[in-house]
């Protein structure tokens, strides 16, 4: 078994480019997708046809009082160009007594932006009205009632849920992708005949399988491990303290992925077909499981049910619990056991099919 295991590593050493590029890509992607969304300030291009430049700047200063949004003054021509080239999806147009949004493309952010803008706009206009009608009074804005908000979940880390969701989702997506692509090697081996040669050797078939699968398993865990270490050290992304929980989750997820790989390869054994099927399967699972967009947006019950049979759904859930809510291994037993169950199921069916079609 160990000889097969080592054999795979030797193979990898000869052609490391593929795997290395995957690892690099994962890091780059999650860096861009996750890092920028972690402390996200939404930039809104703002322009006006009616206001003068100084009036516009005054408005921008007022709007920039918060810390989630950044409003930038611009002009209609630049903004229209940017909209056309899809560089921005919407822009804010301010006028004397109303404002509107110039929109090229749906954006999830407009609602949040609007809440802020509406508040600032209304306040400023009202105060202006008051100043007009009672010019000798001054106003001091006080809070006469406040809102005290609590939640059931007590977040420990300083990263918000959105960021953690994206980081775990994307990392797991790319890890699944990498593992599945790596396992394509098995299909290639079957084609080129090395598989059959291994079978003839005194090695037990189970050793061959275990050696191979162990290799892909370690590769997957290594990849996620490297990524998380880089996020933690270089990107200041805080994962909380529950390293054990994270490790266990990652291992369970890679186990399920490797098993899924076995199943797919058992069903489809041509490397060319696999090249098309693997991206589709991993992207589909990632979409269903909630790695691309938060599942709360989905209202279709069928899809929500489907989400519960994707490994990525449980992977994200367990990782988030570990990272944000300090879940110990005992707390995340449910998603982990689902992952293990799925792994065993996929592996069983996959091995069976693979042996039968001999």
């Amino acid at each position: 078994m160990w000889s097969v295991f080592n054999l795979q590593w030797l193979r990898l050493k000869r052609e490391p480019i593929l795997v290395l590029s995957f690892i690099t890509m994962t890091i780059l992607f999650v860096f861009f997708i996750g890092g920028t969304q972690g402390e996200q300030t939404i930039t809104v291009q703002t322009f006006s046809d009616q206001l003068t430049e100084s009036e516009l700047d005054e408005w921008i200063d007022d709007l920039n009082d918060g810390n989630h949004f950044e409003f930038e003054a611009s002009d209609r021509a630049t903004i229209e160009n940017q909209l056309q080239m899809s560089q921005i999806t919407y822009a804010l147009e301010l006028n004397h007594d109303h404002y509107q949004y110039l929109v090229g493309q749906d954006s999830f952010f407009i609602n949040a932006v609007n809440q802020h803008v509406e508040q600032v706009y209304r306040t400023k206009l009202r105060i202006r009205e008051m100043a007009q009608q009672f010019p000798d009074r001054s106003i001091e804005l006080k809070n006469y009632l406040t809102i005290e908000s609590e939640s059931l979940a007590n977040s420990v880390s300083n990263s918000n849920e959105e960021g953690a969701h994206i980081v775990s989702g994307m990392t797991l997506y790319f890890a699944l992708y990498t593992v599945l692509f790596g396992m394509m090697n098995i299909a290639v081996e079957k084609r080129t005949g090395t598989w059959d040669r291994l079978i003839i050797t005194p090695l037990k078939k189970s050793s061959i399988y275990v050696g191979q699968l162990l290799h892909y398993f370690s590769l997957g865990v290594l990849q996620i491990g490297i990524c998380f270490v880089i996020f933690d050290q270089l990107l200041n992304y805080h994962f909380g303290d529950q390293y054990l929980s994270i490790l266990v989750t990652v291992m369970a997820f890679i186990f399920a992925s490797v098993a899924l790989g076995m199943l797919i390869i058992a069903l489809i054994n041509s490397p060319q077909q696999l090249q098309a099927v693997i991206p589709i399967v991993s992207t589909a699972f990632a979409m269903l499981g909630g790695a691309f967009w938060p599942l709360e947006l989905v209202t279709n019950n069928f899809l929500i049910a489907l989400a519960k049979i994707t490994p990525i759904y449980y992977g994200i859930k367990a990782l988030k619990d570990a990272m944000l809510y300090n879940a110990r291994v005992i707390d995340i037993l449910q998603p982990i056991s689902m992952l293990l169950l799925m792994g065993v199921l996929f592996m069983g069916i996959g091995l069976n099919l693979m042996e039968r079609t001999k």
Binding site: F22, K142, T146, F292, L297
Partner: protein, 424 residues
């Protein structure tokens, strides 16, 4: 060369499964997209009304009594007190909040339940029966009045209890409450400054935040965006499939046999280009038509729209053909299929990400969008999006030219790399 193309099609029709997967499986993703995102309309999310429990522990009468006692204790004359009590009733926030929460405008977003007590509501929160609990505590009105008339720090808190702060429903409810409290505090501060005299308002909030569409078409919906994104991403796989198959042909000596017949090698390359172009066109056609029939992605569009769509798709197929030729040339020259693997495994995802197929890239920075517009799929996606937004063909010609240039570039490179000798 027509024979080569005929050969390709015969091969495909014998081994349908491979290409069937390529052509049809993106539909799986689009279907998922359709069901997941199709209901998201512009800006707002089409969710079920959020069940919110409202608990009012406040007793206005009691609070007014308490307030009256305080005023009397301060030694304020009886008549002034009466006036203040009347005013107090008018500015009571609880009544305003109730009106807001029960208003018909909010009835789509919130399903207000007022028959819980505090314990029952918290219980309901843990079981998903309600997703937010709004509590107006005892003496709330009193504290507000106290803060207003005696100019003290307020102790009036509206309690909001949610499952998770970042949950979308929670942010919506928080948003409603924040909006209410901001407006209330503002009006009360104004009232304080004007000593109770009303400030006339001519502000009409109807015009706040209306959406104007940038161009003559409708804005691009999330669903359209992802459909296009997935379509251009999976078209890239056609290129790697074609080159991978070419490599297979080299491995099983079909290529050698073809060269022995005296067929010109570049004709072989050209046939690969044509196969790739045709495959991509078929794939895109199936995707767009099926998606429109099933999910109304592009309904309400003119013939002109479809003509432009066809033109953009054709240009895109050309660049895919170029990519296929490029990779085929490399695979056959270096006798190694790693390039197809690397492309389909790695480069496609990079291109897809930069081009915006996986998520709207301009969120991150306009610079990334620039980079994306340098990839074939990114440039095409921008062209498609411009088309949907209603620009006419002159506006997205730059993108089309760019992609045509890429196609020419790839084909030239392919011709240069493709081995001309020692082919057998």
């Amino acid at each position: 060369m027509w024979n080569l193309i005929k050969k390709d099609f015969l091969t495909i029709s014998r081994d349908r499964s491979e290409f069937l997967i390529l052509l049809v499986m993106p539909m799986v993703l689009i279907t998922i997209l359709g069901f997941a995102l199709g209901s998201i309309m512009f800006g707002t999310v089409d969710m079920d009304p959020i069940p919110v429990a409202l608990i009012i522990e406040n007793d206005l009468e009691q609070d007014l009594e308490q307030f009256r006692k305080d005023l009397t204790a301060e030694g304020i004359p009886e008549q002034a007190i009466e006036q203040m009590i009347i005013n107090a009733e008018e500015i009571d926030p609880v009544a305003s909040l109730e009106t807001v929460l029960r208003s018909p405008e909010l009835s789509d977003m919130i399903d207000l339940k007022e028959n819980y007590d505090q314990e029952q509501a918290e219980e309901a929160l843990t079981t998903d029966e309600v997703l937010a609990v709004i509590t107006i505590p005892e003496q709330f009105s009193y504290h507000t009045l106290f803060a207003f008339y005696f100019e003290e720090e307020t102790e009036a808190d509206i309690g909001l209890f949610v499952q998770d702060h970042e949950q979308i429903q929670a942010t919506i409810v928080e948003g409603i409450l924040t909006s209410f409290s901001d407006q209330y505090n503002l009006e009360l501060s104004i009232a304080f400054a004007t000593e109770g005299e009303t400030v006339e308002t001519t502000i009409s909030e109807e015009n706040f935040g209306t959406i104007t569409h940038f161009s003559t078409g409708k804005p691009v919906s999330a669903f359209q965006y992802y459909t296009i994104g997935m379509a251009v991403m999976f078209a890239l796989y056609v290129a790697s499939t074609v080159s991978s198959n070419a490599f297979k042909e080299k491995k099983n000596h079909m290529f050698a046999r073809l060269m022995m017949t005296g067929e010109r090698p570049l004709n072989y390359l050209l046939s690969k280009v044509i196969s790739a172009v045709i495959l991509t066109l078929v794939q895109l056609t199936i995707l767009f038509i099926a998606s429109t029939l099933l999910f109304q992605t592009f309904t309400g569009t003119s013939v002109e729209f479809w003509v432009s769509l066809a033109i953009i798709s054709f240009v895109f197929s050309l660049v895919i053909g170029g990519l296929a030729a490029f990779m085929t040339a490399i695979a056959i020259q270096f006798n190694n299929d790693a390039i197809s693997g690397f492309f389909s495994g790695g480069a496609v995802v990079i291109f897809a990400f930069l081009g915006g197929s996986l998520s709207p890239i301009e969120q991150f920075s306009p610079l990334m969008r620039e980079l994306g517009n340098l990839t074939p799929n990114g440039a095409m996606m921008t062209a498609y999006l411009q088309l949907i937004q209603g620009f006419n063909i002159n506006d997205f010609l730059p993108m089309i030219y760019r992609v045509l240039l890429m196609a020419v570039l790839f084909i030239s490179l392919a011709v240069a790399i493709f081995p001309k000798r020692r082919l057998i």
